[in-house]
Every structure is written in C-alpha cells, then in structure tokens.
C-alpha cells in the first residue's frame, strides 16, 4: 500500500484539519466530536444535516455551505459517525425550525442517525429523516437491508438545500427531498477495490480483466462479476437498469450524473458520460442537466457510477439555484 498519509490513526483528523484550513471562508471544522458547519449560516431556516464515513470526499463535508448542507458529520474511514457527533452537529444546524437528516441507506448510518434523532427529540429539537436508497444494484426486498444510498445523495442534498435556503418549512423540505429520492437511481462498477488506510490491503480482490458490477461505495462487493468490456458496453450495463427502474422514456428530462469512485481519471468519466448520454438519448430521454466528476468517492477505488434523476420544472429550478460550497459552486 502506498498512501499520502501520516500515522493511520491520524488520517481522519489530518483530512479534516486540511479541509477546514483550505476552505475556511466557507466552513468551520469542529473537533471532539468532529463535525463541520457552514460559515454564513442563515438564521430561521430549516437545518440540513448529513454525514457518513470518511473516504467519500467531497461527500459530505464538501457540500456544506450556502444552498446545500448546514452541517456534515464525518465518521472514521468507511464508518458511520456516532450519535454524539450527529447530535452536536444537529444542535448547531438548528435555527429553530427543525432539522432534516439526509441519511444514506447503510445499516450503520441508519442506526447511528436513528439513535441521534431519539436523543435530539428528547432535547426538544424536531428532527425528520430522509433515507436515500438510489442504488438499483440491490433489489429492495425483505431479504436485504434494502437499496443502498450512493451518488444519488448529491442531488438530494443540493435540491433539499435549495428548498431550505428559500425558506421552505420542515415538511416542505422533507417532501421535496423525498420527491428526489423517488426519482433518482444509480448503478456503479468497480475496476479495482479501495484500500482502507488502517487495513492496508484492498477491500476485495478482482482478477485482471474482471469488474464488479453493482458495487457500493464502501468497497463492499457488488452483485456480480463480469469481464472488462469496452466502456460503451459497460456503461450500457449501468444505464439499462436505470431506464427500467425509473421507466424512463418518452419526453422525460433527466439530470445525468457520472461520478468517479476516486481512482478513475476524469478523462475516463467523460468516456462514460458520452456512452451514457447516447444510451439515454437512444431511449428517447432528454439529458437536461449534467454533472461529471468525483463527488461520492470510495477512497482510491477505480470505477464509476451513473445516476439519473427525472426532473420536473421545480426540481430543475432547485438544482439550478445558487450554491456555494467547497465542492459545488454556481
């Protein structure tokens, strides 16, 4: 393993101290417990809080700022933050109109946010939870923990953040966030696994010429393995389930988000974007908005995910609304 790191147990603090110093104009990093808040907090708005393991940067800390999150709670690498940190971040984000927790559907995240929400309710802070489960690789059924929350969390945070910024109430922010959750789907592929710093070896083994289709964002194995094919063919395996799951076609307009897992160059992401866009357009779907980049990474995993969000005029306007965070700005 080769990593740019100091001692393994200093990794998360080093990441957060660097992040806080680099973006001191936008965010403030708090320690013991670790959480990040925005500098220009508007009072009297609904607070939007998310969190999850470190290693997915810029998610979630990079999305703290005007028009998006009020606070983010980073956990250890690939590990959910603990309830005490979520409580502290939520208190800081509460402007008196309640707090919305945006939670990716992973057992650890769900249990820790649920425990924190119970503690916050005891303190008299209104908390609502929006569960993001956009990963179509997992069939939602009683036989699994349900579909995972992956790159679809970015449009949820962006759009819910814009709704909160314009002054929507707790119920309205939750409603718009849930509308996004209902219309966003993602499918990913890994070419090589991530290596967690304190573990020191890849999270799973892939043979040369083999890919993991339907991989999650914590290096957990996906649903099936297949041969490495040309990019357009692989991209097709990612886009087809999205088309089917959302029943896309006709005059649908979508946001197309091609996300890198951390170890794949931007050039390859554009190859994937090209293939995905053609595939969607061949199905009669209009790509109205696009985003390409490393937004929800998995440390140094090689691979990419494709996300589609079916847009309506309001969701499009909220996506377009101004945002000023370390990782997204327009």
């Amino acid at each position: 393993m080769k990593k740019l790191m100091n001692e393994a147990d200093r990794f998360v603090p080093d990441v957060l101290e660097g992040f806080g110093a680099a973006h001191a104009d936008l965010v403030q990093v708090h320690g013991d417990p670790w959480f990040v808040t925005r500098r220009d907090r508007a009072s009297g708005k609904v607070g939007l809080v998310s969190g999850g393991g470190t290693g997915h940067e810029p998610l979630h800390v990079g999305f703290v700022g005007h028009g998006m999150l009020d606070a983010a709670v980073p956990g250890p690498v690939f590990t959910s933050p603990t309830p005490d940190a979520i409580v502290a971040a939520s208190r800081a984000a509460d402007g008196g109109r309640g707090v919305v927790h945006v939670v990716k559907n992973y057992t650890g995240d769900v249990l820790n946010f649920e425990t924190a929400a119970e503690l916050l309710e005891d303190e008299g802070i209104a908390v609502r939870t929006v569960l993001v489960d956009d990963d179509v690789a997992v069939q939602g059924s009683t036989f699994t923990a349900g579909r995972r929350g992956v790159a679809g969390v970015v449009p949820v945070e962006k759009i819910a953040g814009a709704a909160a910024e314009r002054g929507d109430g707790l119920d309205e922010v939750v409603a718009v966030a849930e509308r996004v959750v209902g219309q966003v789907r993602t499918m990913g592929v890994a070419l090589a696994a991530a290596t967690v710093p304190h573990v020191g070896r890849p999270g799973f083994d892939l043979a040369e010429g083999e890919v993991e289709i339907g991989v999650g964002i914590h290096g957990e194995p996906g649903r099936r393995r297949g041969p490495l094919e040309p990019a357009d063919a692989l991209t097709g395996h990612l886009v087809e389930p999205l088309l089917q799951d959302l029943a896309l076609g006709g005059d649908d307009e979508v946001l197309l988000l091609v996300n890198g897992m951390g170890g794949t160059p931007l050039s390859e992401l554009y190859v994937v974007y090209r293939g995905a866009r053609r595939h969607l357009e061949d199905a009669g779907v209009r790509v109205a908005r696009s985003s390409v980049g490393n937004l929800v990474t998995s440390l140094d995993m090689q691979g990419a995910s494709v996300t589609t969000l079916r847009l309506d005029p309001e969701l499009m306007a909220l996506w377009d609304a101004p945002v000023r965070t370390p990782a997204l700005r327009w």
């Binding site: 393991g53 250890p76 959910s80 603990t82 650890g108 425990t115 923990a145 304190h198 914590h218 957990e220």
Partner: protein
C-alpha cells in the same frame, strides 16, 4: 465467584484485550462479507472503554459499569456495531443494577441485551447477524438457570452457546446488514458480529472464573 462490579470491570477489560488480539481475525471475517471495518471499530471502542475505566472511579454496581461500557461504545465504535452493542449494554445495565448477580439476574441481563439488539437492528434469528449468537446464549442461559446452575455456570453455558450460534451463521444467507447485499454469496462465512458477540460472552465467563 461473585458477579459483582469488579467482575464487570474485568469483563470489560478482557473484552478489550481479546478483541484487540483478534482484531485481524474480525477484519478478515468482515472483509469477506462486509466492508472489513468490524475488528478496527470494535478494537477502537473497547480500547476507549479501557481508558475510561482507568480515568473514572470504578463504579460499585454492575449496572453502572455496563452503562459506562454502553455510552463509551456508542460514542466511539461507529458503524452498525456501535449502536447495536451500545443498546445491548445499556439495556443490560438497567436490569443488573445490583451489587452481585444471581443466576436469574444473569439470564435477565442477557435477555435485556438480546432485546436491545433486536429492537435496534430489527433482525431475528437466522438472518446471519449477531442476534444468532445472542439468542443462542439467552436460550442456553435460561436452560442452565432452570436446571439450577450457579451464576458462573450460567455464563459458561451462554458463552458456549454463543460460540455455537456464531458457527451456525456460516451456512446462512444474510438477509440483514451489509452482508445481505451479497445474497447467496454470503453463505460459507461466519458473521463478524456474531463472532465478536461470542468473544465478549467468552470474556464474561472467563472474568467470572478468575474471580
């Protein structure tokens, strides 16, 4: 032989020692069907418990020791294991607020822990989770207590059964937690949460034997 606060402190310390020693083993189990962080998270949390026990005056009731273990794990373990073990020890602490545990109190403590894990994780036996180890331990403890065993023997029965319960997860197909994403591919591997539960209950018994 008394299962008192000193026993509970030894249990916590020995749990930390065994999990730190078995850290790599737990990492490897979790790497096969999860994301490989269980050994790391649990070792971090239980080491924090050890530190905490060295900083504060040692509580004189079993329940207070278990409460300290619960709150420390909840704020240091993370992942799914943090809230699950945290809730288990918190519920167990409520039931064992006495200076020394009777055989019935040992059973009640284990029942409360199992109930906490089930209510937090919404899993039932047979889903390849730590519930399989906890549930087996509770069943065996109830049986031993019914047969007139002393508290240490009740714990011994619970620890043996937890290990068997952990082994029973090997052929299971996971339907809860992160391993469930693997479907059929999860069969053939022991659940790491069930494995660590067996380690903690073995530590509870070993701590009682030495008293």
């Amino acid at each position: 032989m008394a299962l008192d606060a000193a026993w509970a402190v030894r249990w916590a310390r020995w749990s930390a020692e065994v999990v730190v020693a078995e850290r790599e083993h737990l990492v490897e189990l979790d790497r096969r069907i999860g994301d490989g962080d269980h050994g790391e998270n649990l070792a971090r949390g239980l080491s924090a418990v050890q530190v905490k026990l060295g900083q504060v005056p040692v509580p004189d009731q079993v329940g207070e020791v278990l409460r300290l273990v619960a709150t420390t794990m909840m704020s240091t373990v993370g992942g799914a294991a943090g809230p699950l073990y945290g809730t288990a020890f918190l519920r167990a602490a409520k039931i064992s607020g006495v200076s020394s545990l009777s055989p019935a109190a040992v059973v009640a403590m284990l029942e409360a822990a199992l109930e906490g894990v089930v209510s937090r994780g919404r899993a039932s036996p047979g889903e390849k989770t730590m519930v399989d180890a906890w549930a087996a331990a509770v069943g065996a403890a109830q049986e031993a207590e019914g047969a007139g065993a002393d508290p240490v023997a009740v714990l011994a029965a619970a620890a043996d059964a937890a290990e068997a319960g952990a082994r029973s997860t090997v052929p299971m197909v996971a339907t809860k937690g992160r391993a469930s994403y693997l479907g059929e591919r999860s069969a053939g591997h022991m659940d790491p949460g069930a494995a660590s539960t067996a380690m903690l209950l073995r530590a509870a018994h070993a701590a009682a034997e030495s008293s």
